[in-house]
């Protein structure tokens, strides 16, 4: 065996260094693991300071020994290239490995091992871990706010129906693809509004006319999927027929008055809350802010100076103020600007405020896309004799919007993350409900569980959205 030069590991003694280095590295990881999982300190014969740093030193020497360039061993080379390029990187890698090992046991024990899941009162939560019973007991409140328990099926049903109607795009055949934009931009939001306004909110209005309207609209959508041969007659007869049938021949009002059919109870928006409110607000703001933002983006690039100045003023104003003051404005200042007997529900006011606020951001994002398009596109469209609207709808906007998918997705993400701010106007979505539950005298001291729960939910929503936007971006990526 030739002489080993400890200061400079090289290929000639590859195996010796490999075994020695791996052994030292293994010892250091073992030491930290034992310390963290079983609370054992195998090096406590050493002085405290040295015992604390020993794994780092051992690991560092170990990694130094196995750092042999072009060793010929595929796995070793890969390891060296990825976590062990030089001394500094080796120390950082070790620190990260140790932090991970150190943080696993407390997190695991808090989340699962010592946590309590069973029962339905605070008494079961005696362990040192999380009290998931609290979340279980308060689940309905976190999901539906103060919405009456007996009526919560209305929210569930509406959301399921809207999700199904929203997924129409996936099943549409090629022939109906061209109607999809119209469907998603005009018809779907309208149906969603009807659902939320009449079904979740409830009330007698529902029976006056909206059964007929919803039935008619649903039948129109169904109509797009039936064969062309019958389409004309279908559209001529079915929607109006359904409407008239439901409105005049099935006498709901009389049935209700006779007590044979019960109407839906009216649930005021103050009682709405929880995660469902987050969804409702995000959904409507998302729908409203997009067209408004697009209009102002076009206005900012318009050739008319007055329109341009107004757009710039609008955009810069909303972008310059924080959302919380906008909501303050909608809560305390906006009612002063309306006629005295004119009342707008606070949920609607909040939705208007958030939509206008986010519209300014959407406008800037879309403007970026419009500016990124080469002049040639505008000139080519004009030379084909297209007017302003035709040019924008068929040539400019499809390309510009494709370019700004990531930016728009970021704005929408920001919107979802901004919804908790509606606590300013007194609406409590999931974070607001958490703060309410936290102060309940029977359930004091579980703030951590609540926030972790909400954080997980928001994280899943936002992460899924960002991944989806990434997929969209890849899907619509076209070479130019």
């Amino acid at each position: 065996m030739s002489k080993i030069n400890f200061l400079k590991p090289d290929k000639t003694n590859l195996n010796t260094f490999l075994y020695l280095g791996s052994f030292l590295f293994f010892i250091s990881v073992l030491d930290v693991s034992l310390n963290s999982f079983f609370n054992l300190n195998i090096t406590n014969f050493l002085p405290g300071f040295l015992s604390f740093l020993l794994p780092l030193i051992l690991g560092f020497i170990g990694l130094y020994f196995i750092r042999i360039e072009l060793s010929g061993n595929k796995h070793l080379d890969l390891l060296n290239k990825n976590i062990n390029t030089n001394n500094f990187n080796a120390v950082l890698s070790l620190l990260i490995i140790f932090i991970i090992i150190k943080s696993i046991p407390p997190i695991l024990s808090w989340f699962y091992v010592d946590a309590s899941f069973a029962g339905d009162s605070k008494d079961v939560c005696t362990g040192s871990g999380a009290c998931w019973t609290y979340i279980k007991v308060w689940m309905r409140r976190f999901m539906y706010g103060m919405y009456p328990n007996a009526e919560q099926w209305r929210i569930n049903l509406s959301f399921i129906a809207l999700a199904l109607l929203g997924s129409v795009g996936y099943f549409a055949t090629d022939r109906f693809k061209k109607y999809l934009t119209l469907y998603y931009v005009v018809i779907y939001p309208f149906i969603a509004f009807l659902f939320i306004f009449f079904f979740i909110s409830g009330g007698p209005v529902f029976f006056d006319f909206s059964y007929g309207i919803i039935a008619a609209i649903l039948s129109i959508i169904v109509g797009f999927f039936i064969p062309n041969k019958f389409k004309f007659y279908y559209f001529l007869i079915v929607p109006f027929g359904l409407y008239i049938l439901l409105k005049y021949f099935i006498f709901y009002e009389e049935l209700i008055e006779l007590g044979k059919l019960e109407g839906l109870n009216w649930v005021e928006t103050g009682a709405w809350g929880g995660l469902s409110l987050t969804f409702i607000i995000s959904f409507f703001c998302l729908i409203f802010c997009f067209p408004i933002g697009m209009a102002f983006a076009l206005g900012r690039r318009s050739g008319f100076p007055l329109i341009r100045y107004i757009s710039v003023g609008f955009i810069e104003f909303w972008r310059g103020v924080p959302l919380i003051t906008v909501l303050f404005m909608s809560a305390v200042m906006f009612p002063m600007f309306l006629p005295e007997d004119f009342f707008i529900d606070k949920l609607v006011r909040a939705i208007i405020a958030i939509s206008l606020f986010e519209a300014a951001y959407v406008a800037e994002v879309i403007r970026g896309g419009l500016q990124a398009l080469p002049r040639g596109q505008y000139e080519a469209a004009k030379s084909l004799g297209m007017g302003y609207w035709k040019m924008h709808i068929f040539v400019i906007l499809p390309q510009a919007l494709k370019l700004v998918i990531p930016g728009i997705a970021n704005t929408f993400l920001a919107l979802v993350k901004d919804t908790p701010l509606i606590f300013v106007v007194g609406l409590l979505e999931i974070v607001g409900m958490l703060n309410l539950a936290k102060t309940n005298p029977e359930w004091l001291g579980f703030a951590m569980e609540g926030y972790v729960f909400a954080a997980i939910i928001f994280w899943i929503i936002c992460y899924a959205m960002s991944k989806y936007s990434y997929n969209l971006e890849q899907k619509y990526k076209t070479d130019r």
Partner: protein, 383 residues
């Protein structure tokens, strides 16, 4: 004539619509205020405010005016924003560079950090730190001192205060050092451009900024001592630290969450900026014999900064605006003090909300003007 009409009509219609909407609002506001007997005016700003604020940088109590309360709120907002911006920038740059590290563990760790913190609403993070994490801290009487003099307790962070003697001399020496550094830098640049000689500017600057203040200690009669926080008993079970500087838990929670949240966005800007510098630039720089440090300093960073600065400015603006979430945890910032308490007391909704919005608007506009100027200065001047 026809051509002109086509130009004017849409503009006229838009302006008319805007004027009508504003007119409608103003008319209603007038009618409403008359009906409720509220008069419009900013005179209340000089009236006595008669409410107290927990934490203030300037002297303030109930006998001061509403305008003073406004200043207290504004200064608190600026304090939180500045601290947040500093921490967010440091953390963001580190994480952004870490995401580009060839070390797999480091870049995955950085990616995890970014994905984790930016997908959770800021308000939730503030609540988490304030109501859950900081509530787990020890009571003042049980707190273990850090470095012997600093106490992190449930009632806030207590650090020693600096007590200066002849602070102005120290300050002048610092200013002199900075001016000298600027002079030397310009001189060094000129020397390099005309003679091609390099002067070690960094070393000289470091020396200047250390030595001149040190001299002021030795010869200028500047003295520095510390006032250490001391535990004091208020009641049988209530303790508090006195002396030194106390940072309220609201401020800690707010700066912590603001910087952790904003740092993720800054990290992405930094990463995009460094990635945006073409590989050819680095190779070309290396091929003319620059050292790796010089490549980074003279070739990569100047180009990367050009990409990094505009979006980072946006993040600074966002942080400043997000600091208004302070109102949710009762940190006395502009929104809480002025748009909250003062509005409740005076009932002057329109005046107060408009002042608050205008303040944020001017903060945003001034930051963006500053950054636009800087951006223009470092932009590529193409022929």
């Amino acid at each position: 004539m026809n051509f002109k009409l086509k130009d004017i009509v849409p503009q006229l219609v838009t302006v008319l619509a805007v004027v009508l909407v504003f007119g409608f609002f103003t008319y209603n506001a007038q009618v409403n205020m008359e009906n409720r007997g509220i008069d419009f005016g900013y005179g209340f700003l000089s009236q006595e405010s008669s409410f107290d604020v927990q934490f203030s940088l300037i002297e303030y109590d109930g006998s001061h005016s509403y305008f003073r309360a406004y200043l207290v709120g504004l200064l608190n907002t600026i304090l939180v924003s500045v601290i947040g911006i500093i921490f967010a920038t440091i953390l963001g740059v580190i994480v952004g560079i870490a995401r580009l590290s060839p070390n797999y563990l480091i870049n995955q760790f950085a990616a995890f950090y970014v994905e984790f913190f930016r997908n959770i609403p800021l308000l939730l993070q503030i609540f988490f730190w304030y109501f859950a994490a900081l509530r787990a801290l020890p009571l003042p009487q049980d707190a273990e001192p850090m470095f012997g003099v600093t106490y992190l307790t449930i009632k806030g962070l207590f650090v020693p205060a600096f007590i200066w003697q002849n602070f102005n001399i120290f300050f002048y020496s610092l200013v002199a050092a900075i001016i000298a550094i600027i002079v030397i830098r310009t001189h060094a640049k000129k020397v390099q451009e005309t003679h091609g000689k390099q002067i070690p500017v960094l070393l000289i600057s470091l020396g200047l900024i250390l030595i001149l203040p040190l001299l002021s200690f030795l010869f200028g009669g500047v003295r520095l001592s510390f006032e250490v926080p001391v535990l004091k008993q208020l009641a049988t079970t209530s303790f508090i630290y006195e002396g030194g500087v106390s940072l309220p838990p609201e401020l800690i929670a707010l700066t912590l969450s603001l910087s952790l949240y904003t740092a993720t966005f800054i990290a992405e800007c930094v990463r995009a900026g460094i990635q945006g510098v073409g590989k050819g630039q680095k190779e070309a720089a290396a091929s003319i014999g620059l050292t790796p440090n010089q490549v980074l300093k003279l070739v990569v960073m100047p180009q990367a900064l050009r990409i990094i600065i505009p979006p980072t400015t946006n993040q600074y603006l966002n942080l400043t605006k997000n600091s208004s979430l302070a109102a949710a945890i009762a940190y006395p910032d502009l929104v809480l003090v002025f748009a909250g308490t003062a509005l409740m007391q005076t009932g002057k909704a329109i005046e107060i909300v408009s002042i608050t919005m205008f303040t944020y608007l001017s903060l945003s506009v001034s930051i963006s003007i500053l950054m636009n100027w800087y951006n223009k200065k470092i932009a590529i001047t193409e022929k």
